[in-house]
């Protein structure tokens, strides 16, 4: 078995080195496709991640209308804690909110762009249980003096709709990408198979079994797939790290994952897809040629 494996690997490697330009075309095609595939996966993963983190927040922000006076605010201060499900309500003056915001995102240099404080006064409300969040948010919205209500769940729902839409579009794009890559790989390896038709004929004539003829080409496809996937991974890792660092600087409130298990899973999927694409490419191309014999 190992003897066979060694022979297949040796022949496959020879096939790649002899294939030259054709092997290069197949490898680069797989690399580009897997890179795009990887970008999609990383975006999806981060969006899901963001959605998850929003869902776990139990805070509701109730923004007070500019027209509201002191008495209205005092009234709200009393009525909000009365709402069922509210655990804590904290008034946040717009001045302190603005100060805090500037401190948190000092990198944005907001003072250069904004002359006045754009934030309204608000109440930060904590609910005792996530299931109350809709009801509490609705009741808050109905209160006199409250202009707008926002909460993580609402944002998460909107995000979920966006992710769902992107998943559908992504699935179509990935399907087209994977199938066209497979076709290119099949045809590229087929060219190397045609170039080695003489060899295949000789193998068949001296009594080599069909599997023995097939496997070097299947291995060749796998090597090309693996090589394409590894190159895609290198570019993906470099690109993702640069993008993540820039995101952290420009959109600091967006959590970007750099070294989690899920990211490694994305990389593993890329690697396995590359090998699988190569395997299928090699298998289809040599089967086609053997069938024509």
């Amino acid at each position: 078995m190992f003897k066979r494996l060694g022979y297949f690997c040796r022949e496959a490697w020879q096939g790649i080195t002899r294939g030259g330009l054709m092997a290069f075309v197949a490898t680069s095609t797989i690399m580009v496709s897997l890179f795009i595939f990887g970008v999609f996966l990383l975006i999806f993963f981060n969006l899901y991640n963001l959605m998850g983190s929003l869902n776990t927040r139990l805070d509701i922000m109730a923004y007070i209308a500019d027209s509201a006076g002191h008495s209205d605010v005092d009234l709200l201060r009393m009525s909000i804690p009365q709402i069922a499900g509210v655990r804590k309500a904290e008034f946040i003056a717009k001045e302190s909110a603005w100060r805090q915001f500037r401190e948190n995102y000092s990198g944005l240099r907001l003072d250069e762009f904004l002359d006045a404080n754009p934030l309204p006064d608000a109440f930060k409300i904590e609910v005792s249980d996530l299931s109350y969040i809709h009801v509490v948010a609705n009741k808050l919205g109905a209160l006199e003096g409250i202009e707008d209500v926002s909460y993580g769940g609402d944002l998460a729902e909107r995000m979920a709709a966006l992710v769902k839409m992107m998943t559908l579009a992504g699935a179509v794009i990935i399907f087209l990408l994977v199938s066209s890559t497979l076709m290119i790989v099949v045809n590229t390896i087929r060219l190397t198979v045609i170039a080695r038709e003489n060899e295949i004929n000789i193998m068949a004539l001296v009594g080599a079994s069909r599997s023995f003829i097939k496997y070097p080409f299947i291995f060749e496809g796998m090597f090309i797939g693996l090589l394409g996937a590894l190159l895609a991974l290198v570019f993906l890792k470099i690109g993702y790290n640069i993008a993540a660092l820039n995101m952290a600087r420009l959109i600091p409130f967006m959590p970007v994952n750099l070294h989690s298990r899920e990211i490694n899973l994305v990389y593993l999927i890329i690697l396995l897809t590359g090998v699988a694409l190569g395997w299928l490419g090699g298998y289809f191309s040599v089967s086609k040629t053997l069938k024509a014999e």
């Binding site: 003897k3 066979r4 022979y7 002899r18 003489n198 060899e199 004929n201 000789i202 193998m203 068949a204 004539l205 001296v206 009594g207 080599a208 079994s209 069909r210 023995f212 003829i213």
Partner: protein, 225 residues
């Protein structure tokens, strides 16, 4: 050893073989002669199941080749060595590697392969050129490598399709002498398709002549005519 029974082969409306029945015994040396398009190559191909007859049956070592399942064809081919006019050598492999290739694909032991390769290269007189690439050899030498490759697995039958078609008369004679030696020494059944009148006339072996896909004559110690 080899028997064809009323074999027909049609490609569309073209009749390539018509009612071909021959019998070749073990250790025989047979020339298959006839003009281009007479059906010689098709008949040879039917023996190692590169062509499936439209009608009739082909037996090799008592096995009905026409009824072989696809997965059993490799087993049949291991008992037949085939030599072609254009040698069909792999140009990126050395002489020894080309010969060894036939055993490597049968997954034989490396030590056995080495022993067999050296032995068969010695038989064809190319031991000294074992590390040369085919491009460094003459046509005759390349054909001898191809014969060595066909022989390395000790087949019971050796089929040669126009083996001297690309060679000068002297080299052709050398190659035919080699095939004769293999037949004599190893008792290998040899079947040679050829146009070479001089060789057929001087070697005086059994001659089967095909014309328009039919057997025109079958003579022991025949000539080309």
């Amino acid at each position: 050893m080899i028997r064809t029974d009323k074999v027909f082969k049609l490609y569309g409306d073209n009749v390539i073989l018509q009612n071909v029945s021959i019998q070749i015994e073990k250790s025989e040396f047979v020339f298959l002669v006839g003009q281009n398009g007479a059906g010689k190559s098709t008949l040879l191909k039917a023996l190692y199941r590169d062509v499936l007859p439209t009608k009739g049956e082909v037996f090799v070592n008592n096995v009905n080749v026409t009824r072989l399942k696809r997965r059993s064809i490799p087993l049949l081919r291991r008992s037949i060595g085939v030599v072609f006019q254009d040698y069909k050598l792999l140009k990126y492999k050395t002489v020894a590697e080309n010969v060894a290739f036939a055993l490597e694909v049968l997954e034989k032991d490396p030590k056995f392969i080495r022993r067999q390769v050296l032995q068969v290269l010695d038989l064809v007189g190319l031991l000294k050129k074992k590390d040369e690439k085919p491009s460094a050899l003459s046509g005759g030498e390349q054909q001898k490598v191809s014969i060595a490759r066909a022989l390395v697995n000790n087949p019971q039958i050796l089929i040669a399709d126009e083996p001297t078609g690309n060679l000068d008369p002297d080299t052709s004679w050398e190659v035919m002498q080699l095939l004769d030696k293999i037949n004599e020494q190893r008792k290998t059944t040899v079947l040679v398709a050829t146009h070479d009148k001089a060789i057929v006339d001087s070697m005086r072996k059994r001659v089967v002549e095909l014309s328009g896909g039919k057997i025109l004559r079958d003579e022991i110690l025949g000539g080309y005519r």
